[in-house]
Symmetry: C2
Subunit: 242 residues, 2 copies
């Protein structure tokens, strides 16, 4: 972990910046995944003596000639090998003393990893990367706990107002999987028939004409999110609400 792409929080003192980056400006990624109906985030274990036992958000430096989002993508791909994921800016955190040795402002992004990629992510990379349940997080370095709290709150809000939850599911999913997703993120119980009607009435799902396989009970229909229709509906004033 001594290469130029080393995340800023792998060092403590002295701060050794790689060449060709914007000093004082870093990226931190808040990566969400869904595991057995539980919402998890991706954390990196700190190995240096100063932060022994603590964890951090995966992050790194922005290159001088690199757009912000590109930097976030690159850092995630370097870490997890996953290319396709939903990624949006979360917020910028810059409290004066958030970083010990220098004034470092960090731009936080949040990402959603689909079920297909979920198990690959942590495996692809070093052993010190792992998924952790948002309901039972370890101690985090710097202000990362604050970033996580803000991000969870933000995700809870977003997921109700934008159809982004689908990014956490496999491409083809059942209505119950979708419902379980909302229950996991919002930490609530929903009524199955009502949830079903609400979703279907939006006309955002297209039936795959295919059924679940390998389940020990009646197989449910599989659906996929129809982003084309969503785009059209949005233009005519439709707004997604759960």
């Amino acid at each position: 972990m001594q290469n130029p792409a080393t995340p800023p929080h792998s060092h403590v003192e002295p701060l050794r910046l790689p060449q060709n980056v914007i000093k004082a400006l870093s990226i931190d990624n808040l990566v969400f995944g869904l595991d057995e109906d539980e919402l998890k985030i991706l954390l990196v274990k700190q190995t240096d003596p100063m932060h022994q036992g603590k964890w951090a958000l995966p992050g790194g430096w922005i290159r001088y000639d690199e757009n912000l989002r590109d930097a976030a993508y690159r850092l995630l791909e370097e870490l997890t090998g996953v290319k396709q994921l939903y990624l949006e800016q979360l917020k910028t955190f810059g409290r004066v003393n958030r970083f010990p040795t220098e004034r470092v402002v960090t731009i936080a992004y949040y990402a959603l990893v689909s079920a297909e990629h979920y198990s690959l992510v942590a495996g692809q990379s070093a052993a010190d990367v792992s998924w952790q349940s948002v309901n039972n997080l370890p101690e985090l370095i710097y202000d990362h706990a604050e970033i996580v709290q803000y991000g969870i709150k933000f995700l809870r809000h977003q997921v109700c107002h934008q159809p982004i939850g689908f990014n956490l599911l496999p491409e083809k999913f059942t209505l119950l999987q979708l419902q379980a997703l909302y229950e996991a993120i919002l930490n609530t119980k929903l009524d199955k028939p009502n949830f079903r009607r609400k979703i279907m009435k939006m006309d955002l799902l297209t039936a795959c004409n295919e059924k679940q396989k390998g389940v020990p009970h009646r197989a449910a229909n599989l659906y996929r999110f129809d982003s084309e229709t969503y785009k059209q509906l949005t233009e005519s004033g439709f707004s997604f609400e759960i």
Copy 2:
């Protein structure tokens, strides 16, 4: 405009950074105000030959020992003299070539100026600061048009999901003023009796037991926003929706 607090976009080349700031990181403020039922933003006229006739968002550099929000507050107060305003982070913009001479990333904040302060704002400061209708904006420098578009969209969303619109009104306001605010921001027409019922049922307004004065028709009741009640309601799961 050659003092150390000069906004980054007042210069073009060479980039002369004031001492004691975080290089490569600036603040831009998107300041909203309501004027005669029209939504306006605060812009600064550019005087240097390079940007003659163009306008910019008021902005500046972040000091090395200053929190981000504090920097945004300071810059606004320096420019307008207004201390009390609603201010929140909007988004960070950092396209590689958004700034001509250097890689500069900017953290955009958005602010809401109350009607009491509205007319003071532009007067307090240089003649090259003025309110401009969001429906008829002049040409802006750099990526400021993009920031403005994003901000307007964001405001339209926020105002429907959070009770922030009150920050644009005087402390005591009538229901019709509130309705006009929503109509101006959302660019729609609303039904008066229905809007009224919807708002009142939320229990977020307390009557001042006072009436409008100096109007050539029946005077309406004045109300004020009750932030205490809102806090309590929020904790019990209430969510503001228009």
